[in-house]
Symmetry: D2
Subunit: 370 residues, 4 copies
C-alpha cells in the first residue's frame, strides 16, 4: 500500500493536513551531492501561494519551508529528505458547521464514510489543495535532478471558463507565463480569462480550465512497459492533484477523428538525431519517451467550493438540507495548479531517470570538503 508514496526509486511521501500542524514531504532516492537549499524550495512554494491576485483565496499562507533531514552542509546526503511547512493563520471555525453536511463536489462524504468519521475534516483535511505544497517541495528536488540531464519542465494555462489560448512559441511561453495572474502565454486570452473568473466569483460561482504540461530534452528510453508506461505513471501522478478529471497526451482525444496515416509521426534524421516530423504521440511511443517533447493536457473542474446555496443532506438525520459555504475559496484553481503540474511531471521523470540508470548514486566525486 503506497497510498501516500509515489515513485519506485525516487520516492515522494506526502503527509499532513490542511488545518493540522503541518504539510510535509519525505523525498527518497535522491543521489548524494545535490545542492538543495530552503531558498530554492521557498521560491517554488511562493508560486503556488494564494495572494497573487484578487480571485485567489485570501488566506495568507506563510508556507515557510523547513528542511529537517537529509541535507548536510547544503548537499543531499543520500538519506531521506524531510521538508515541512507549518500551518499558521488557520481559521477552522467555518468548517465546523459542515461536518455532517458534505459539500457537493468535495471529498467530505467519501472521506467520512471511508474513515468512519475519524478523518480530519477541517479545511478538507488530507483532501485539501493545500496538500499540493508537499508535491511542490518534492518537485524542486526532482527538477534539480533533471537539470543534470538538461531536462526542463514547463506548464501553463491553455483554457479557462471556455476561453482558449492561442498556441504560442516556447519563447513566448517562457516570457509570458509568470507575467499574468492566470499563467497563460496568450496575453489577450489571459485578460479574458481573468474577466471570466471575476464574473463567476461575483456570481458566487467558479470555473474550470486546462493546463498543458511539457517536458523538454527528455532522452529516449524513459518509461517501463508494460504497466509503468510513461503516460500511465504521469497520469497517476497528475490525478493526485485535486480537481483533475481528465488527462491526455499528444493529440489526445483528437486522435479519435484522425486516420492512422495522419496521426503516425514520420521518423526523420535531424542533426544526426532521430526525431519525428510531427508530435501527435506527445513524445511517448509504446509507453517510452521518444526524445520529442512530452506534451500532456489536464482538465481541472471548477472549484467545488462556491458561495451559491447548494443541496446536500444531513448525514446523521439523512434529511435534505441547504448548504451555504462561507470562508475563503479560489474561484478558479487552474493558475495555482500550474506549478503543481510541473512538480508531478518532474517527480515522475526523475523516478524514471533513476530507473533507467541515468542518474548516478552520487552526483559528483568524493566530497573532500567535509
Amino acid at each position: 500500500m503506497s497510498a501516500n508514496t509515489i515513485g519506485a526509486m525516487f520516492k515522494v511521501t506526502s503527509f499532513g493536513e490542511s488545518h493540522g500542524r503541518c504539510v510535509g514531504t519525505i523525498i527518497e532516492g535522491c543521489p548524494a551531492g545535490l545542492r538543495i537549499s530552503e531558498d530554492m524550495v521557498q521560491k517554488e512554494l511562493e508560486r503556488r501561494r494564494t495572494d497573487q491576485s484578487s480571485f485567489l483565496t485570501q488566506r495568507k499562507e506563510e508556507d515557510k519551508v523547513e528542511i529537517v533531514s537529509g541535507i548536510f552542509n547544503g548537499f543531499t546526503t543520500g538519506s531521506p529528505i524531510c521538508m515541512i511547512v507549518w500551518n499558521k493563520d488557520i481559521d477552522s471555525s467555518t468548517y465546523e458547521k459542515i461536518t455532517f453536511t458534505p459539500r457537493p463536489g468535495h471529498a467530505d462524504f467519501t472521506a467520512y464514510t471511508k474513515y468512519g468519521g475519524f478523518n480530519d475534516y477541517r479545511g478538507g483535511g488530507r483532501f485539501s489543495g493545500r496538500i499540493t505544497a508537499s508535491f511542490v517541495m518534492a518537485g524542486v528536488v526532482a527538477k534539480k535532478m533533471l537539470a543534470l540531464l538538461s531536462i526542463e519542465i514547463l506548464a501553463y494555462t491553455v483554457e479557462i471558463a471556455g476561453v482558449k489560448a492561442k498556441p504560442k512559441t516556447l519563447k513566448e511561453i517562457k516570457d509570458n507565463v509568470e507575467s499574468n495572474s492566470v499563467r497563460c502565454a496568450d496575453l489577450t486570452a489571459a485578460q479574458r480569462m481573468v474577466e471570466a473568473i471575476n464574473k463567476a466569483r461575483d456570481e458566487g460561482d467558479s470555473v474550470g480550465g486546462v493546463v498543458e504540461g511539457v517536458a523538454l530534452n527528455v532522452p529516449v528510453g524513459l518509461g517501463e512497459p508494460v504497466f509503468d508506461t510513461l503516460e500511465g505513471e504521469l497520469a497517476k501522478a497528475i490525478f493526485a492533484i485535486p480537481a483533475v478529471k481528465a488527462v491526455e497526451f499528444g493529440s489526445g482525444f483528437k486522435v479519435v477523428g484522425m486516420r492512422g496515416s495522419e496521426n503516425n509521426d514520420a521518423f526523420i534524421v535531424e542533426g544526426g538525431k532521430v526525431i519525428t516530423k510531427s508530435n501527435n504521440s506527445g513524445g511517448i511511443l509504446g509507453g517510452i519517451s521518444n526524445g520529442m517533447p512530452i506534451v500532456c493536457r489536464i482538465a481541472f473542474k471548477p472549484t467545488p467550493s462556491i458561495l451559491k446555496s447548494q443541496s446536500t443532506i444531513d448525514l446523521i438525520r439523512m434529511k435534505p438540507v441547504t448548504l451555504k459555504i462561507r470562508g475563503r475559496h479560489d474561484s478558479c484553481i487552474v493558475p495555482r495548479a500550474v506549478p503543481v503540474v510541473e512538480s508531478m511531471i518532474a517527480i515522475v521523470l526523475a523516478d524514471h531517470a533513476i530507473r533507467t540508470g541515468l542518474i548516478p548514486r552520487v552526483v559528483k566525486g568524493v566530497n573532500l570538503d567535509r
Copy 2:
C-alpha cells in the same frame, strides 16, 4: 520496479511476447476458495480474438489458456495463479524486414533504443496488442472476486472514426454490445462505424475511437488518497493498453466549460442511501468511490500499422527510407479493446476492494471436501 506487475494487494504480472513461446500472467492476492476454471477464462479470451469480423486481423490466434498453478480441485488456493496462452500460427517473416526501419506510431524505435537492440521485435514483441491477453486472463479472476461484492463491469464503444453513438440505457447496452462487431450499443451508429472502418481499410488506412467503461454497484470507499486515487490507479492501468492516448472520468474535458454550480453533484437520499442527483464526478470524489457508477472514457488512436507507404529511417545508415508494412493488421483496434478495458477496470477495483478490507482471505469457511 514493478514494470510488469500492477496492484498492491491483488497483483497481476504479465509476461511473454507476441511471437515468442507464449503470453502469460501471474495473479497474486486472490483469496482462497474462489471457483475458477479454464473455461471461464477461455470465454473472455475469445472476446478479444481476432476473427470476429472482416476488418480485424486474419491471424487465427487459438489463445487456448492453460492454468498451470494456483488452482486445485477447481478452487483458488491462495498461491499465485499462473495462466499461459501458447503462441501458435506465427509468421514472423514480414517483421524481419522492419528490424532497423522503425514503424511510425509503434514502439520499434523506443524499444530498440532502450534495450540496445536486444528486444524481441517480432510482431511488436512485448509491445504487441497480443500482450493484452495477459490482462484479460487476470481480469476474469478480478471480475469473479468483484462478483462477491455484486460489482459489475461493462465497456462498450461510443465513437469510431468520428461516428458518435447516442447514449443508451443500461439494458440496451447489455443487450446490444455483443450483438455487433464494433461492440456499440447504438445499432445505427454501429453500422456506420463498420462502414467507416471498412472504408479506411480499403484505403490502406486505419481509424481510432472511444471506449466507455462503467463499474456498477461499487461501494463507497474504494481508492487510497493521496497518490493511489481511484482515477489515478484506473488511468495507469488503462494506459497499459496499447494505443490509449487519453482518459477522462465523469464529465471529463467537459468540466472545463462548466460552472461549479453546474458541475457539483447534489447529494440526495434515495431508498435510505446517499446518492448524487447527477454524476458529473463519474462516481469518484477525492479519489474515492462515492457509490455512484464509475464512468470513464478512453481515446484509442488509429492502429499505427497501415498499408499505405510511410516515411521512416534506416537506423543503421541513419538515412530516410520508405516503409511499406505488409501482414495482418486491424484497421481499428477499438472493438477488441472493449474486453481489455473491462479487465483493467476489474483488476484495479479488485485490488482496492482487498485494500479496503472488503474481500476475506478465504472466500468461504474451511474446505471439508478435500
Copy 3:
C-alpha cells in the same frame, strides 16, 4: 527502493540523523479510530533513553515526541502519522576529528564510500543507534493495534558478556525486566551482567549480548510464504537495529544437533485448541504463525565505540593511523535494545495482521463525536 520504509500494509518510514535537526517516523496503514497520544509514545521513548544507569551514555537526550500529522482529536484518522523527536544537547565536536579516519566496527567507511563523502557523519548520522527512536515511536502504534487482537510483545536480556540468564517464567519476566538496568529477568545474572559491563567500561572496552523476543497470543495464519515468511520478515526488521549480527527462531542453532524426532513438535488438542507439545519451531511453521508463542533470539555485538586505541587508516592519505575515540558511548547496547526489539516485532506482526485481514480499516463504528 524501500530502503527507509518497512512493511507492506502497515508501513513505517524512518528519517532523520543523530546530530541533525531531528529523528522522525511516518506511520501508514494504521486503521482510523485508534486512540494514540504523545504521552503513550513518550513513555516508550523513555525506555530507550540513555541515562538509566551509569554504564549508558551520558548524553541527556530529551527525546520529547511531537505528533505532527495523522492524529485528530486523539484518534488516528487513517492518514499518515508523522512523529518527530527534535535533537537537542548535541555536541558534534568530537566527531569532527574522525571524519576521514573511519572507526572500526562502525559504518563510517562504508557510508563514506557509498555516499561519496556527502553523508552526515556527525554522531554516526543515519547509522547511529539514535535512529532506533524512529522505530520505537512506530512500535507504540503497532503494539496498540496488536492489542486489538490481544497480541502481546515482550523482550528481555538473556545474556551479556558471557553471563547467561536462567530461564524464567512469564510472570517473573514481566515482574523483573524493568526492575534492573540490564533488563534481565534473572536478577542474580543481572547483577553479574552489570559487573561485567562495568569492568569492560573501566577497561575502555565494551561487551555484547543476547536479547530474546517473544510474541504471545498470536493467531494462527500470520506470514506470507514463499518470500514474506514470518521468520524472514522479522529477521529483516531486526537486522535494521544497529549491532545485530545473528537471529534465530525457536531452537535456532540448536536444531543442528537434534534428530527430527526430537525437534518435531507434536500436535495436541488443549482446551479445544490445537497447540504443540513443545515449541522448537518458535511458533512458526512454513513461515506462518502456528498459534504458539513466537520466540526469537538476537545477538548484539559489543559496542564498536571503545575508548581503547585502535588501528585505522586516514582515507585521504591512505596511511595507517591510531584512533582514540572520545565522547559518550554505551559500554553495552543490549539493555537499550530491548524496547527496540519489541518495536520491530510489533511492527512486523501489525503489518501481517493487516495483510491477513484481521484489522479493520476503521477500529470502531462511525465517529459521531466530531
Copy 4:
C-alpha cells in the same frame, strides 16, 4: 504484498506447487544483452536434484527447464524471463492420507488454517522443498549478472548431525565441495557426516546441519540502510528456504562473548585498497558491504518427514492420532540446500548491485546482430 516476489529492482517471482503442473519463476530487472541458455540453468538445477546419493529422496525428478519468455536469440531482452520446470513422476497417493492429520514440523497445519483448507496439500504443495527449484533458476541469472562485476558466490556444508567440518582454504573448498555427497570441504568430516545421516535414516529419523555462504569480490557499497541492510535482505531471502531456523553473519552468535576491542576489525591498506585485518563483521558494516568477503552461516533443522511414528491430531474430529509417514524423504536436507543458499545470496546481491547503479540497463552496446 510481495509474498511471492523478492527484490526491488532485480525481482524474482516464484510460482507452482510440488505436485501441481509445474514450478516456475519470473525474473525481472535483468539488463538486456545477457547471454542465458537453458543449458546453464539446467546445470544448476541438476545440483539440487535428488538422486545424487542414497540418503536423498528417491523421486526421480527430471527438472527439465523451459525458458518461455524474455530470452531472444540467446540473450535477455529486458522483458520478464519466465522459466518453468514441469512436474513429472508424481505419486501423490501417500499424501492423501495425511490431509487432515498435519505432519509435525511441516506447514500442513498452518497452511490448512490460513487458506481454509483450499491449499494444494499434495507433497507439501507450495511449502515443499521442491519450490526451491524456482529460486535456483533465478539464481543462475543473478550469478551471471554478478559475474559482470567479478562477484563470486560459494556455499558449502560446515556441520551435519553434530559433525563439524574443519576450516578450509578457498582452494580446498572449491576443489572438494562437489566431490562428495554432503558438499563439505573437509573430506574426513564429510565421511562422518554421511555415516551420521545413514544412521539416522536407518533409524527412521533425520538430522540437521549448517551451511556457510560466502560472496567474494563484492564492491564496497551494497546495502540500503536503514531497513534494506545487506544482512536483513540476505536473512529474509534465506529464510524463504524451508527448514532454515537461524542466520548469522561474520562472528555471529560468537560476538556475544567478545569484547569490542576483539570484535572490531581494524582497517588497513593493502595493495592500495582499504581492507580489514580480521573479518568479524562478515563483510558488512552498517548494513553495507565493506569489500571483505560476505560470510553467513545458516542452520537447517532435521527434515520433519521421518518414518518413525509421531503424535498428531485429526483436525476434523479434534482427536489425537498416531501418524506414520510413508514415501520418499531426505534424511538430511543440508547438501541439497547448498545450491539454494548460493542462489538466494546471488539474488539479493544482484538486486543491490542494480540498486547501487553498478549494472547498466543494457549489458553491451547496441545489438547489430539481429
